[in-house]
């Protein structure tokens, strides 16, 4: 009697499981480095716009996502990439990992953000920013930093959090912008000397671009090197924080979408990529991001105007070419 029950229960369980697998909708697997907060909101819209598409997402930091895709190169698990740094995209093209795809409506986007052969299509931009906790600043009697140089002040010792550029795209654009500022493109080493000085004040290198801001908001550090909208979100949550865009010029990065070569569900992936540059999607992006690549969409009002920020003119081609070497050197110097 009892055995019958066990058999019944097991076959019921297995049956349910197989049924779940069997009745599949159209499926797409998307890899992304967008922030979790945003993705949650975007997906609500995506699932409304594409009700018959089952969207599976993996979210990892920029560097970790790249590692994962490289590891899976011979057996790609992702169908497309969504919101991943252009620098890293550039590295993937010669590795033959991307498949050119011209999504519907791409002609409406600003040309300079779209790869000429449609290997990737840019969707938005994000900018390096410091998250400064005003309460901690007051307690420790610290001067408000205006840019990278002010962070060398020994008073900040141990009170700065910075992303680890190996894992975090934000960290990479910060390091890369400092290096470019100090003439790394002309072969100068001054940028590294600056980073060495800065290193003396860094309390912790964190494998995420948003976490330094979050930790600073909660009072664990005085300054968190992070990027624009994360700081705005912390402010909105009521934490005592302020934005600072480094006056030396703030580094930035474009995020883009691409189709994976060898995607298992190319049709579904293309549908998703079409959606990902649609007006509906762009409107959602604009609720978080500084600028989106579809012209005419208003950006969020609680961020300073783009015209008021001094952007550093990033050289994406140089970055892509030198990324591995920069990270290797960074690791040997600073990883503790």
């Amino acid at each position: 009697m009892k055995r019958k029950w066990t058999v019944l229960v097991i076959s019921f369980v297995m049956g349910l499981f197989l049924a779940g697998v069997g009745l599949a909708k159209e499926k797409v697997t998307v890899y992304t480095s967008l922030e979790t907060d945003e993705i949650v909101k975007y997906l609500e819209v995506a699932r409304k716009d594409l009700p018959d598409l089952e969207i599976d997402i993996i979210r990892l930091s920029t560097g970790e996502l790249g590692a994962r895709m490289l590891a899976e190169k011979d057996n790609p698990q992702a169908d497309c990439i969504w919101g991943w740094a252009v620098t890293n995209m550039e590295q993937f093209i010669p590795l033959n990992m991307l498949e050119p795809y011209k999504p519907k409506g791409v002609e409406k986007l600003e040309k300079r953000f779209v790869h000429p052969e449609y290997y990737y299509v840019g969707i938005d931009m994000y900018i390096a920013a410091f998250c400064v906790n005003t309460k901690v600043m007051k307690e420790k009697d610290l001067p408000m930093p205006k840019g990278w140089n002010d962070l060398l002040n020994p008073k900040f010792k141990g009170l700065i959090a910075m992303p680890n550029p190996v894992a975090s795209g934000t960290g990479f654009l910060q390091v890369s912008s400092i290096l470019q500022m100090y003439g790394a493109k002309e072969g100068k080493e001054d940028g590294w000397e600056f980073l060495k000085k800065l290193d003396k004040n860094i309390g912790q290198y964190i494998k995420s671009g948003s976490r330094p801001a979050k930790m600073t908001a909660q009072g664990e550090f005085a300054v968190g090197c992070s990027f624009d909208f994360v700081v705005a979100e912390q402010k909105k949550l009521g934490f005592p924080v302020e934005f600072v865009f480094p006056i030396e010029g703030a580094g930035y990065e474009i995020e883009a979408n691409a189709l994976m070569k060898g995607a298992k569900n190319p049709k579904a992936a293309k549908r998703f990529l079409d959606w990902a540059i649609s007006e509906n999607a762009m409107k959602e992006y604009a609720k978080f991001k500084y600028g989106v690549t579809l012209p005419g969409i208003p950006t969020r009002p609680d961020l300073p105007k783009l015209s008021e920020i001094k952007l550093y003119p990033m050289d994406f081609a140089w970055q892509a070419k030198n990324r591995d070497a920069i990270l290797k050197k960074w690791e040997s110097l600073f990883l503790r």
Partner: protein, 582 residues
């Protein structure tokens, strides 16, 4: 746990050829599973670390040892593990002494609470310590106003001590309660002082148990991933270094090299533990334990207070994480809220669950229940399948090893106990290297995770099956066979019912491990399969500590629910003897 070749069952029934065939086939299948899912991945790791372009080279090792930062991960690991081993063994020994050799009140409470760390992912210790002693900790910042914090070696050591405590306790408890206490009494009645008795009689008789507990703690600490990843800060250890090299840097060769380096101390500690456990069993006397003399009041009070210390710490860990998941902003605002259970995570799709809830619910609730809670449902799913599969396979392995003993069974035995020696992170990396190929369709699905968890925990399952089968007299089985039952019927209708207790306790064990394991599985989660325990890590990395606590709370609630269910079914508490390795 000796493999006695000369069983008492010399009068075995004439072996039917079909039975022999069946036994051989079963053993063949088990061997194939273990070889393919355990040896092959480890082989792939060794291959990758020693070969470059097809030729043997030590270049990877050279670059490991010549990089001071990476080399430090080895010394860090050894330091943390040795200190943890010393502290945990010391505390657990006297705790076990208090429980077995004194007449303190509340032994059951002490014992039960000390097993708590087993029902949660190891990461819970780290989370609690950060809430209390982190940069923004309740105690460090708000009570003491100090800048000191627990990140780094201190944090890892304290957290690992708490995590390893029950594992060491099980061994020492068994040792101390099995050694004949009449020796102590004899020594005392011959005039030895209490202290002298302790050092000359009690301690020596428990030495193998102590050493075996120490080896186990060392093994657990050096292979743990969850604690150092949350509380290590800039302090890197071998297990986190493997993850960093592989997931962060794409350096599979270096990851494999560090894996081999990690394998050496962990296999060493395992072998030592194994050897000492055997020795310690030899000292166990079969004599019934005589009545325990009532302890003197001073001893009684001292041990009662002493036992409260680790117990309190463990309780504080659990209470902190529970509280941390229900208050608004730790430690600023203690208003109660459920907002952290609305996980700011992506969730995912779960078979059945997502389709069902997304068709029933709308808007926010749909996103919450159908997608964000999907990893929890996935974890439950995986755990149920792991429990059934793991318990069945290990019972079968135990049955072959203990009762059937076909030729070459030693190989099966060795392979069955070996998984405990292999660190989870190593196994996880090995699975990527071995199975991420287009023709392994199970890669990236539930099944590879289920198989991985079963294999990683095969040791204890098999050992406890063997121990239980030992208690069944061979003659019962022989009677069944001579009455005409075929081998399958004998197994399902005679052997299985008699080993039901072992089977159910294995089910509980595998379920708990599947719900709480992190180290191997973190390499195997994919877009399609997300698990609750892994979500804790991702939430924490993302800076969402409160929600990480909330996820931890949910896992604990589910595991406790499972324990209650199993208790209702079997009428026994499932936690006894449920150490991670034997």
């Amino acid at each position: 746990m000796k493999l006695k070749k000369e069983g008492q069952g010399l009068t075995f029934s004439a072996p039917v050829s079909s039975e022999r065939w069946l036994v051989w086939m079963t053993m063949g299948i088990l061997l194939a599973i273990l070889a393919f899912f355990m040896l092959y991945p480890v082989y792939d790791i060794c291959k990758l670390s020693f070969l470059k372009g097809g030729t043997f080279t030590l270049k990877n090792y050279q670059s490991y040892f010549s990089n001071p930062r990476m080399f430090r991960s080895l010394t860090n690991s050894l330091y943390v593990s040795l200190v943890t081993t010393a502290i945990t063994t010391f505390f657990a020994f006297f705790f076990a002494y208090g429980l077995t050799r004194t007449t303190i009140p509340g032994k059951n409470i002490f014992y039960t609470i000390s097993t708590f760390p087993l029902i949660a992912p190891s990461i819970i210790q780290g989370l609690a310590l950060i809430l209390l002693f982190g940069r923004n900790g309740l105690i460090t910042r708000y009570l003491l106003h100090t800048d000191w914090n627990i990140y780094g070696a201190t944090g890892i050591i304290v957290a690992e001590c708490l995590y390893c405590f029950p594992n060491a306790l099980f061994i020492l408890y068994t040792t101390l309660s099995a050694v004949d206490t009449r020796l102590d009494e004899a020594a005392q009645s011959l005039g030895a002082s209490a202290l002298r008795t302790f050092f000359k009689v009690t301690l020596p008789s428990a030495k193998y148990g102590i050493a075996s507990a120490a080896a186990l703690v060392f093994n657990l600490t050096i292979t743990d991933f969850g604690v150092p990843v949350v509380i290590g800060g800039n302090y890197n250890v071998l297990a986190t270094e493997i993850y960093q090299q592989v997931i962060g840097m794409q350096r599979f060769d270096l990851g494999a090299t560090i894996s081999v380096i990690l394998l050496i101390p962990s296999v060493g500690a395992f072998l030592l533990n194994y050897y000492l456990t055997k020795k310690s069993y030899a000292l166990i006397s079969g004599q019934a334990r005589p009545f325990l003399q009532p302890s003197r009041p001073f001893k009684k009070w001292a041990f009662t207070i002493y036992c409260w210390i680790p117990t309190t710490f463990i309780l504080i860990v659990f209470i902190t994480v529970f509280l941390g998941s229900f208050v608004k902003t730790w430690p600023y605002d203690f208003t109660l809220t459920l907002q952290h259970f609305d996980f700011p995570s992506l969730g995912g799709n779960a078979p059945l669950w997502t389709r069902f809830w997304s068709s029933v619910l709308e808007g926010q609730w749909r996103s919450l229940i159908a997608y964000k809670y999907a990893p929890i449902w996935n974890s439950l799913w995986v755990s149920v399948l792991v429990a059934l599969g793991g318990a069945s396979l290990t019972l079968l392995a135990g049955y072959l090893i203990e009762k059937k003993r076909p030729g070459g069974v030693e190989i099966l035995y060795t392979l069955s106990v070996l998984p405990a020696a292999i660190p989870g992170t190593v196994m996880g990396l090995g699975y990527i290297l071995a199975f991420n190929k287009p023709y392994f369709f199970i890669y990236g699905t539930f099944w590879i995770i289920i198989i991985n968890i079963i294999i990683c925990n095969f040791t204890l399952g098999t050992l406890s099956s063997i121990a239980n089968l030992k208690q069944i007299d061979r003659s019962i089985e022989e009677a069944a066979i001579s009455l005409g039952a075929d081998p399958i019927k004998t197994f399902t209708q005679v052997v299985f019912p008699l080993t039901k207790t072992a089977f159910f306790s294995n089910i509980t064990f595998f379920f708990m491990r599947a719900m709480t394991t992190i180290s191997a599985v973190i390499f195997l989660v994919s877009a399609k399969v997300k698990l609750a325990a892994i979500e804790i890590i991702f939430l924490d990395i993302d800076g969402r500590t409160a929600s990480a606590n909330a996820m931890c709370t949910i896992i604990i609630v589910l595991v406790v629910a499972m324990l209650v269910v199993m208790r209702l079914i079997t009428g026994k508490s499932g936690l006894k003897g449920m150490s991670v390795t034997a």
